[in-house]
């Protein structure tokens, strides 16, 4: 078979120009695919960071009914015991509890409805970038009480000022009217419009007192040490907690929409590959068709000399395989340069939106940095070969079906 390779390789260089044009065209496809995939991978990576790691966590712990009903009473009880169990698990990076409730927040003159979120400041700092999203003032101080952090729009709506006390009034779980004063220590800008308009963070303990939900939380967001082993971790955690009224969900179960959105990563990759290589396939088909057509006599001679039709198919396929290899090599160089630029400098999409790149209500950094995954490059390279070989299958079969007498007589 080796001499078939030799012949195929030399055949490729017979029409240097044509082969090179085809190869370079495919190589540009490869390069563009690499750049586009690096970009989408980068986008999805930052979406994963923003939507999964910063919002959902890798794993969520909550009352089974809480996600669907979001009722005040569907809480996780004995939260401190459960937190201790989560912390004891070796796969745990950090667990951050949260208690939610609706309230009326009043400033000196104005009041507004708000979504209260009781958090453990020390854990939140480790688990989420919330403390980095401050607009003014400072984050909640770990261990402190009587402090509140307001969404910047809510802060404006209340005509509040830093250091001023706002009153928080809410319907507590026992039917009483929970009310207390909190000092505004800061404001945040999360990028999520609803959060900025109505979100308010306060110490978990304070909210538990206010809502009369002692040692209860609505959810615990867990980040694991190994994002690749979330499923196993969730299983392990579920057993460690061992309670029917506490549900442990990996993020993709907790938010099927997010999961669906992240699933578009593969779809978009396939779409890009499909478009680029659909076009490339025609190039290869054309090149190989011409190559077979103009070599009809030569192929007839090979048949006369006793080569089997099957081997002739191989000869053509190997030729296109080399063409693919050539394209891949040039393409990797082109793509390497593009990838380098996108990874190092990023692409600025700030013209797409004023605050950043908005995707389903989530605001992403307007500058998207590429992420190069070996698997993406592997996809592309495999695609080059598969497309090239597949699209030369027809010319190859045509070559094999030539009738020797007619082929030799041609020209």
């Amino acid at each position: 078979m080796r001499f078939l390779g030799t012949m195929a390789w030399r055949n490729l260089w017979r029409h240097r120009r044509r082969s090179l044009i085809t190869a370079v065209a495919m190589a540009f496809g490869v390069g563009m695919c690499m750049a586009t995939l690096a970009l989408t991978d980068g986008m999805f990576e930052s979406m994963f960071e923003v939507m999964v790691e910063q919002q959902l966590g890798h794993v969520q712990v909550h009352h089974p009914d809480y996600p669907s009903k979001r009722l005040l009473h569907d809480s996780v009880e004995d939260a401190s015991t459960i937190l201790a169990r989560i912390d004891a698990l070796p796969g745990t990076e950090v667990a951050s509890p949260q208690l939610n409730g609706f309230a009326l927040v009043g400033g000196e003159t104005k009041s507004s409805g708000a979504m209260l979120m009781g958090i453990d400041a020390a854990r939140s700092i480790r688990a989420s970038p919330l403390h980095e999203r401050l607009e003014e003032g400072r984050f909640l101080r770990p261990g402190a009480s009587g402090e509140i952090l307001l969404g910047h729009k809510l802060f404006e709506d209340l005509d509040a000022a830093l250091g001023e006390a706002v009153v928080v009034v809410t319907q507590a779980s026992d039917g009483s009217l929970g009310n207390a004063l909190f000092d505004v220590v800061g404001t945040f800008r999360s990028g999520n419009a609803q959060m900025d308009r109505s979100g308010a963070y306060l110490p978990l303990q304070d909210l538990q007192d206010l809502l009369v939900l002692p040692d209860q939380v609505h959810q615990i967001t867990v980040l694991t040490r190994d994002p690749g082993a979330i499923e196993a971790y969730a299983e392990e955690l579920s057993q460690a907690i061992g309670s029917d009224t506490v549900q442990v969900q990996p993020w993709w179960e907790a938010s099927p929409q997010t999961s669906q959105m992240m699933g578009m990563r593969d779809f978009s990759a396939l779409l890009i590959l499909g478009i680029v290589f659909g076009a490339a396939a025609f190039g290869v088909l054309n090149t190989m068709m011409m190559s077979v057509f103009e070599r009809t006599r030569e192929l007839g001679v090979l048949r006369a000399l006793g080569i089997r039709p099957g081997r002739l198919v191989w000869l053509i396929l190997i030729e296109s395989f080399f063409l693919a290899g050539l394209s891949a090599v040039i393409g990797l160089m082109i793509g390497g340069v593009l990838d380098w630029y996108i990874v190092v400098h990023g692409l600025d999409f700030s013209s797409a939106g004023e605050d950043g790149f908005s995707f389903s209500g989530i605001v992403l950094d307007p500058i998207i940095y590429g992420v190069v995954r070996p698997i993406s490059i592997a996809y592309i390279v495999v695609a080059v070969f598969v497309v090239s070989v597949l699209s030369s299958l027809w010319p190859a079969l045509r070559a094999a079906r030539l009738r020797p007498v007619e082929a030799i007589r041609s020209e």
Binding site: L104, G113, V169, Q171, A172, S173, D174, G175, L177, L181
Partner: protein
């Protein structure tokens, strides 16, 4: 709904001396005014039962005219001093613990008042069956029951959230119960009246119980422990400055 306001404010029932045959309008007015008077001072016990909690509150309520009222919680101690002021369509809560007064924004008017089955809206709505509804007598005493039954449908522009209201009223014009239906014709809640006593020479129910039909087993029951009608209440009671001084 005016009846809750009326109930809370312990108005004076204006029962007549059983004329031969009351008009429908008279029956409805009597229901609307079941506990309303020009001015009143009442002490009310409110018992709330929900699937989550049971609580009992004691409160004192002052009312003057149809536009102004003030309710102050006396018990339990934790909530004592919480005061709600109503002037027209506006509600304010005074929170003694933090010494603040908060106006309830329109967005939260649908929320529960003090954990009861009454909404803030119920406190300020002021429709009258005899004015905002078209009504029809569906049963007279002796026609399958002892009482009058009046079916009321809101007029197109009436400030009413219900699709239909059906009141059952005794021949002596004392209301027995009122059923509230939504636009789909589903029975949503029932206000029933009990423990009829004579106050100031007039018959008046002492217990008002609100039963929401979408929450089985739950209710809010108000019992008028004291009721003083025609009291002279100064106007200054019903302003924001006065809230803190109560």
């Amino acid at each position: 709904m005016m009846w809750i306001l009326a109930a809370l404010l312990g108005g004076a029932p204006a029962w007549g001396q059983a004329p031969p045959e009351p008009t429908i309008e008279e029956l409805l007015n009597a229901t609307d005014d079941a506990s309303r008077g020009e001015s009143s001072i009442a002490v009310i016990r409110m018992e709330i039962k929900t699937s989550r909690y049971e609580r009992s509150m004691k409160m004192k309520a002052w009312s003057k005219g149809t536009e102004r009222s003030l309710i102050k919680i006396l018990e339990p101690a934790k909530d004592a001093g919480l005061t709600t002021l109503r002037v027209g369509d506006n509600l304010w809560n005074y929170l003694p613990k933090v010494d603040r007064t908060m106006k309830i924004p329109s967005g939260l008017m649908g929320g529960s008042w003090m954990g009861s089955h009454f909404t803030n809206d119920d406190l300020v709505r002021d429709s009258r069956l005899s004015e905002d509804f078209t009504y029809e007598l569906t049963q007279r005493p002796g026609e399958g029951g002892d009482n009058y039954i009046v079916s009321c449908v809101p007029k197109p522009d009436a400030p009413v959230v219900w699709g239909k209201v059906v009141a059952e009223i005794r021949p002596d014009k004392v209301p027995v119960k009122v059923d509230y239906y939504d636009d789909d014709g589903t029975l949503v809640r029932t206000m029933s009246y009990d423990d009829v006593r004579e106050v100031n020479g007039q018959l008046s129910p002492r217990i008002f119980q609100l039963t929401p039909h979408d929450k089985p087993g739950e209710y809010t029951r108000m019992t008028f422990e004291e009721l003083q009608l025609g009291a002279d209440i100064p106007d200054e009671m019903f302003n924001l400055q006065a809230l803190k001084k109560q």
